[in-house]
């Protein structure tokens, strides 16, 4: 039996495994500040990679980056009632602008420095960006306005979990205003497709693209779309959302323009966001019992070279050999970018280093010992297929030049294999044979520890009927994830009411 690198398996306790995987990979840690984490180099480096790849795509969509204030005056929130309702419960509020000695060696907020109007630390920026749009937009010639912001966000969370739900997190928020509803809706869908392509092509996360039901919409939105990924415990994780906000924010913020007929119209706005929670999704989809596995496109280092040093005079020659290898590898191009290669020369035992990089999930680990060097070889380990059938490490000894020539294909293969593995798991864990509520209940009661999702048909109830559906699901700890855009047309009856169904929806447990 293989002795894996983590002390706890996914099967034994998925939540504990997740925490261990993050800790052992040195990706993040508790900060000492309630609900806030420290993102360490390997974790933040993955975010930097995601940023770079997303940012290029966002700019290609015609968006410009801007920066808006962290603080939002209370009055901005009071304008959009639904929006307040949705966010008012979890915001950090700045009330003072100075501290003063309390006479006991400590500090307290200075009562003399109380703000006239408290400031909210942004939980999202629709209100402050909409206010800017109102200044910028006068005529149809000023439209569209398409703006993106990379920022930190604060939502006061009671129960936090690293990357998935933290009081402060990092994100990207796209905001745009258009002349017509049709154009705004079409652009909201383009953003959604951008997320799908990014999640699947860059992070290797297969996702289901769909529309959120009414009760799961962004506060104030006309419609909300999401991409949903399935974690290895079968739970869903909403990995990105795009909202068509109609004219409700434009009305609250007075974003009006003179149309071509000379009349004043309200603009139609959209917003869309993706966060550092994507890193949590990456861990929970690709990780294994040896730790994290990072897809090459988002890996800070794609190839890590570990020289097998033994405190002998030969060590210097091995390091030189490795450095030349690093230089040659860094001149290769994989998936459109220069290969990112690290030579790890820290004063640590080679085996400790190897397992360190396994736990961090570097896609390819190359070990070079005296024997490798003598033969002009390198020993290559793929993180996605660590073991042979006999349970030994699947190290492949290759001539160095051959390895250099094939490294681009190797990295593409790792990228692809992680995606395919996750795609198979997703497909295998959606039960489409659930025709009524009893069957639904049975599925989540009898399908073991990690029951996945069901795709069912429903009559898309509204109002009280929808509230009842929500309650019945909540009793089973379930939620409607979305109505997949590519689902087959409804042809049966509603799993909740038996009435004729109008669409198919995914239901599951969620993060």
């Amino acid at each position: 039996m293989i002795k894996h690198a983590l002390s706890i398996t996914r099967e034994a306790d998925f939540a504990a495994w997740y925490q261990a995987a993050i800790a052992e990979a040195d990706m993040a840690e508790e900060s000492g500040v309630r609900g806030c984490m420290v993102m360490r180099p390997w974790g933040y480096g993955i975010w930097e990679r995601m940023q770079r790849l997303l940012d290029d795509r966002i700019k290609a969509l015609g968006y410009d980056n801007c920066y808006f204030p962290l603080f939002i005056p209370l009055s901005y929130f009071e304008k959009e009632a639904e929006h307040v309702e949705g966010f008012a419960k979890e915001m950090a509020v700045v009330t003072h602008h100075r501290l003063v000695a309390n006479g006991k060696g400590g500090l307290v907020p200075d009562p003399e420095a109380k703000l006239e109007e408290p400031l909210v630390v942004r939980p999202t920026s629709e209100t402050v960006i909409g206010t800017a749009f109102a200044r910028w937009v006068q005529s149809w010639r000023d439209l569209p306005v398409q703006i993106n912001q990379w920022a930190n966000i604060v939502r006061w969370e009671m129960r936090t979990r690293m990357f998935l739900r933290t009081t402060e997190f990092l994100w990207q928020e796209g905001h745009a205003a258009y002349a017509t509803a049709d154009q705004a809706r079409a652009e909201a869908m383009k953003a959604l497709e951008l997320y799908r392509a990014f999640a699947e092509d860059c992070v290797g996360l297969p996702v289901v693209v769909g529309e959120k039901p009414e009760h799961e919409r962004f506060p104030g939105a006309d419609s909300t779309f999401s991409i949903e990924a399935m974690m290895q415990d079968g739970k869903a994780l909403q990995a990105g959302t795009s909202h068509y906000l109609g004219t409700s924010f434009a009305e609250a913020q007075n974003i009006r323009f003179q149309n071509q007929a000379g009349e004043l119209d309200h603009a139609h706005t959209i917003s869309w966001g993706m966060t550092t929670r994507m890193i949590g999704a990456m861990i929970m989809v690709h990780g294994d019992d040896d730790g994290v596995r990072v897809p090459p496109r988002v890996a800070p280092w794609q190839v890590v070279i570990v020289p097998m040093l033994r405190d002998t005079p030969e060590d210097g020659t091995i390091v030189d050999y490795c450095r030349a290898l690093q230089d040659d590898l860094a001149r290769q191009t994989a998936m459109g970018e220069a290969v990112r290669v690290l030579l790890d020369v820290k004063p640590v035992r080679a085996a400790t280093k190897r397992w360190g990089w396994v736990k961090k999930g570097a896609p390819v680990i190359v070990e070079v010992g005296g024997r490798d060097m003598a033969g002009g070889n390198v020993s290559v380990l793929r993180r996605d297929g660590l073991y042979r059938d006999d349970g030994k490490l699947d190290t492949s000894v290759q001539p160095r030049d051959e390895f250099i020539g094939s490294v681009a294909a190797l990295l593409e293969s790792v990228q692809q294999s992680l995606y395919v593995e996750a795609r198979r798991r997703l497909e295998a864990n959606i039960n489409r044979d659930v025709a009524d509520f009893a069957a639904l209940e049975a599925h989540f009661t009898n399908s073991g520890k990690y029951p996945g999702w069901v795709e069912v048909q429903w009559s898309k109830p509204t109002g009280d009927a929808l509230k009842q559906v929500e309650e019945r699901l909540k009793a089973l700890k379930l939620t409607v994830r979305n109505a997949p855009l590519d689902a087959a047309a409804a042809d049966g009856t509603c799993v909740f009411t038996g009435a004729p169904a109008v669409e198919r929806i995914l239901i599951g447990r969620a993060y």
Copy 2:
């Protein structure tokens, strides 16, 4: 006489010119949130360029990027007394984590959701990063630790000015811990040299590198070094600082390690930062009466193509010609990067566009009309030398292929000429012939509106004597900027006391 693009000149009112230059370039605007600005695409785009160039250099220095919490518990500040003293007066304090309806249609902080320990919005991160260092550092093998963070910072400012002093600003902060004082000091100097090279080579800002006098040090630091740039009104702007913090933060935060002899030592820490104020410096050093001038290396677009369309059937052909030109230019490499070219096809008159890009300060503006196209030419305007001697625009008509072949050299030349112009101005405005306080006073009274700086000798007083110097300078609205590292050795008497001098210092008015 030339009619310049801005309605106010630098000579008439430098402060008003600065505001006009920013507004006309659409770089930033007031946000409606007290002391906070909105950075618009051209302004934020310059920051993105600065980030990219700085970040590459920071990583090359061996630093890793991380992310630490926005919020810092009050107790963290209470540990380092000097540090509290320096920052306690200007911090935003979060006291509540929820809002509640006030019964009058508005919202107020929920008294039920008062935080037990108020949180400070970070004014700098020494305390929270030091706390992490204390967890990470146990043995000499864990050193050095070298971390960089890109973040937003809040310092409550009473009088704000865009880019130069805002309640919230963006910056980069480097933090590192070393085993010895010598190593820490040497690394603080490397960071300073990084800033000098970045300012001069990328932003084209000539700077004076030196050590701050005792009373101008970062709160809690053993020594503070700065780069100082001279604005066109002769005022100094501190454009980057690097601090050797000694062991005071390590003692407050318990950053200790077992040294090679097995004893516990405190680490020696350093920190260094550069902010969005660099953009303000760029405007005030390079701008002219036609607006902002952006050095090519930090320009979001280096070449902007303006098709001269006249609503005739020929327009389509001109746009095609421009698009081909754009593609060919984008394949060129200048100063180590692909040339950044924008084709401006917005529905705006060509002359309006041209002057828009002049005011934004795009380094090279290329106009293409029907006649240019027919001759296979382009009309090229350099932003750094806009006019001929006769006051007409210095447009140069060139064969397109010749222009493409020379664009890299052209951009380098613009970069260089902006630097040289600023360097000459700096040199010309430092008066080194000030031997006593009367002469110093006379200089700042009689040298016109923009008197520049003086370099004088002093005896480097401390305690009350230093306080007196500070007061005497303050009466003239002056401060000691720094003691230039490359200044000649002192050989005269102190300008304040007549005592034998020990070093030379720069004195001037400052932002």
